[in-house]
């Protein structure tokens, strides 16, 4: 079930009503409802893969309890390795098996040896990269004694499968989300209204911005040999908007839906395109994944401490692993490596934490220097998105080299004029709300209610009328 579908439009009010109707009876019942609803939500794609979620849930629940029972270091370590093996094993098999086999065969072929590849026709279960990371963090946190394991299986199952963020994040930490399942949730109209606003804004980003950009992005990237440099440049820019609208839109809807049910999820995107350098960009883009890798990979490796060589190694590891997490393709690895290259000079010059505040925090407009820095950061990011979007590294290089010729000065492909208007509106609203959790969090809240509701009405109608051809969320494939 996807958020921008009729199915979800029916599913959400039904679950919402049932959920709040039973709030006075039993917290366990409420959590059970979340589990059932989440399994229905997930099973809508392919019910067979529910067994994977259940398996992952059972394994980490049992390991969590066992870790708490024993203080034997070896046994604890063995338990941790089991959890890592099961979760990464599932991920590795479903996501990376064919990639490794075909690359293995290619490597042998390079040296003249022919091996018959034994690839499998594997369907990638939706959201597997997200929920495996979520359950893994639970076990690691217990192992590190940062978290007490839960004995409440229903709460744990609800934590693993919580439908708003099950298939595309944000990847929640057990320390933040799990305790929320233990405490009674009371309906809070203000919080729900806020959730409703965030859902509306997320849908606008996904349906109006991302899906409309996708039409042109698909056309341009699929036929890049036929287009001028200016059109290819436009295509790369549109993809930058598409992926941001798509993924941050999903996160906004997930966070908004969670708020309707009384939960608080962490912010996943903090206006990353208003970043003044790459380090700031990575503090603002897909925050739940970046911090996951920071806490469970980068810091255990030594982080930014140690020798210069270690720093360089750690940065490359974290960015390449992060790239590889996105998909079994060399394009993602190159994407990660490029970001590492952008990030390294800042780290080595100790300038990676220069821009920690919000840009133009106390003014309406950015200064010339800030604008210039934001533009450069955006262009550098856009360049890496070409690798992210292309089918292969070779076609990404071709794409970029086709941009760099005289045709960059020609007239680009004409877009529907309304798309420019919407992108401009989108940038303006995001800029205005850059100090908040999401673009319209406080927009016009101090204005009379008819004006507020007229704005929501306009957004809803734009979502309905200008919704591009329904596209799945890009991050479902990861």
């Amino acid at each position: 079930m996807i958020f921008n579908s009729l199915d979800f439009a029916l599913f959400l009010p039904i679950v919402f009503t049932l959920y709040w109707l039973i709030q006075n009876y039993n917290l366990k019942l409420q959590n059970l409802l979340i589990v059932v609803a989440s399994y229905i939500f997930y099973g809508w794609w392919d019910w067979r893969f529910l067994s994977l979620i259940l398996f992952s849930t059972l394994v980490d629940y049992s390991i969590g309890i066992y870790l708490n029972k024993t203080s034997d270091k070896t046994k604890r370590k063995m338990m941790l390795y089991t959890s890592v093996l099961v979760n990464i094993g599932l991920l590795g098999f479903f996501k990376y098996y064919n990639f490794f086999v075909s690359n293995f065969v290619d490597s042998f072929a390079f040296f003249g040896a022919k091996i018959k590849p034994n690839t499998l026709n594997i369907i990638l279960p939706v959201g597997i990269s997200f929920y495996t990371f979520q359950t893994l963090s639970y076990t690691i946190d217990i192992y590190k004694n940062k978290l007490a394991p839960t004995k409440d299986f229903i709460s744990f199952a609800a934590f693993v499968s919580f439908f708003p963020q099950l298939v595309a994040g944000p990847i929640e930490r057990a320390t933040n989300l799990l305790p929320q399942f233990y405490t009674k949730r009371n309906f809070d109209a203000k919080k729900s209204m806020d959730g409703f606003r965030q859902i509306l804004w997320g849908l606008f980003k996904k349906v109006v911005i991302a899906d409309n950009c996708a039409r042109y992005v698909n056309l341009i990237f699929d036929n890049y040999e036929a287009y001028s440099g200016s059109t290819l440049f436009l295509g790369a820019m549109l993809f930058a908007f598409q992926i941001y609208g798509d993924f941050s839109g999903y996160s906004d809807i997930a966070i908004g839906v969670s708020r309707l049910f009384g939960f608080n999820l962490k912010q996943n995107f903090a206006f990353p395109y208003f970043s003044r350098d790459i380090a700031e960009f990575w503090r603002r883009w897909h925050i739940s994944l970046s911090t996951w890798f920071r806490d469970y990979v980068y810091i255990p490796l030594g982080g930014s401490r140690g020798s210069r060589c270690n720093k360089i190694r750690n940065v490359f590891i974290i960015f390449i692993v992060s790239g590889f997490w996105h998909g079994a393709n060399w394009t993602f690895i190159v994407w990660g490596a490029l970001n590492a290259l952008y990030f390294l000079p800042l780290l080595l010059l100790n300038r990676n934490r220069v821009n920690t505040n919000v840009v133009a925090e106390h003014s309406i407009l950015p200064s010339f220097t800030e604008s210039f820095k934001m533009l450069i950061t955006f262009l550098l990011t856009t360049l890496t998105w070409v690798f992210f979007r292309s089918d292969s590294v070779a076609s990404a290089i071709d794409y970029l080299s086709n941009i760099c010729n005289a045709s960059i000065f020609s007239k680009p492909l004409a877009l529907e004029s309304y798309l420019y208007i919407f992108i401009l509106l989108f940038i303006l609203i995001e800029w205005r709300g850059r100090r908040e959790q999401y673009g319209i969090e406080k927009l016009w809240l101090n204005k009379p209610w008819p004006l507020q509701w007229a704005f929501y009405y306009m957004l809803a109608m734009l979502i309905f009328l200008y919704g591009g051809e329904a596209q799945e969320f890009i991050y479902f494939q990861f």
Binding site: L6, A189, E416, Y456, Y457, F464, L465
Partner: protein
């Protein structure tokens, strides 16, 4: 909580009202034709946009009623359903013309190749009973109405206020259009299961004959390049062989104007490589009705 639910419900009710307003704003000419069918017709045609080449006003008779119920890219399955819908509106011994296109035997029932959101099957949800719609679902019906609201909005606002680029096909001259149209029409069907379309056409003819109406199958005139680009081999395998099957089985007239030398090599009679312009359509219609008279099928006028 009640107040929150009330506010949200009211909000969505307003959205719903706006959508209903948009749905009622305009109906496509095609659906309108079916919805406004009244009285009795002497002659009708079904078929694809190529059937638009038949103009009934060239028959100079005020009591004679004819109408074109063609629809762009229509499938033989929906020709059958449209005929069933129209049956009560046909006079005794009415003529039912079935214009066939080169892609007619290759299409699947609901045109799954068709672009969204103005999905091919949507319009049928507005006038055909649900038993007539191939793979009917309530969900699809809701989507059909929502898409209609969107289409109506687009036609009113977008076309008026936003500059729309002309479609690439409309910028082509007739010779360039040949390539475009042939490629597009070949792609429209997969031609692997053409027998089912032969069966739909058979069922249509059978019902027409059983009800004592007069069926006529025809191929409208195409620009000569369009015919030659398709090629004789392809046309025989994917079109004429199926027509032969039909002609052997049913007592039906087939009139083939595809390569009619009075029309096919005259650029001035074509809108593009496979559609006649107004002048061409009127010229062709006079020829057609004269032929129907000569064959004793058309007895009035």
């Amino acid at each position: 909580m009640k107040y929150f639910v009330f506010k949200i419900a009211l909000f969505f009710f307003t959205i719903l009202l706006s959508i209903i307003f948009l749905i009622d704003k305009r109906t496509s000419f095609f659906v309108q034709d079916f919805k406004s069918a009244t009285g009795k017709y002497d002659i009708v045609n079904l078929g694809t946009s190529h059937g638009g080449g038949i103009k009934y006003d060239v028959i100079n008779d005020s009591v004679f009623r004819g109408h074109g119920f063609q629809r762009a890219g229509n499938t033989l399955y929906y020709d059958l359903q449209n005929y069933k819908f129209l049956k009560p509106y046909l006079k005794k011994e009415a003529i039912v013309i079935i214009p066939l296109s080169y892609f007619s035997f290759g299409l699947d029932e609901n045109r799954t190749d068709y672009r969204d959101p103005s999905s091919f099957v949507n319009e049928f949800y507005f006038y055909l009973p649900k038993e007539s719609i191939y793979n009917y679902t309530h969900r699809k019906k809701v989507e059909a109405y929502l898409n209609k609201a969107k289409a109506n909005y687009n036609s009113v606002v977008n076309e008026r206020f936003f500059i729309r680029e002309p479609s690439p096909a409309s910028l082509l001259n007739i010779h360039e259009h040949v390539d475009f149209a042939v490629q597009k029409h070949r792609r429209m069907g997969d031609y692997s299961d053409s027998e089912k379309n032969v069966a739909y056409l058979g069922a249509l003819l059978e019902d027409i004959l059983q009800n004592n109406f007069k069926p006529v199958i025809l191929t409208t005139p195409y620009f000569e390049g369009y015919n030659s680009q398709f090629g004789d081999v392809w046309l025989k395998a994917n079109y004429y062989d199926f027509i032969d099957l039909i002609l052997k089985k049913y007592d039906v007239k087939y009139l083939n104007y595809s390569n009619d030398q009075r029309i096919s090599n005259n650029v001035n009679l074509f809108h593009n490589s496979d559609h006649l312009n107004q002048k061409g359509a009127r010229y062709f219609s006079r020829i057609l009705f004269q032929d129907l008279k000569d064959l004793g099928i058309l007895k009035r006028e």
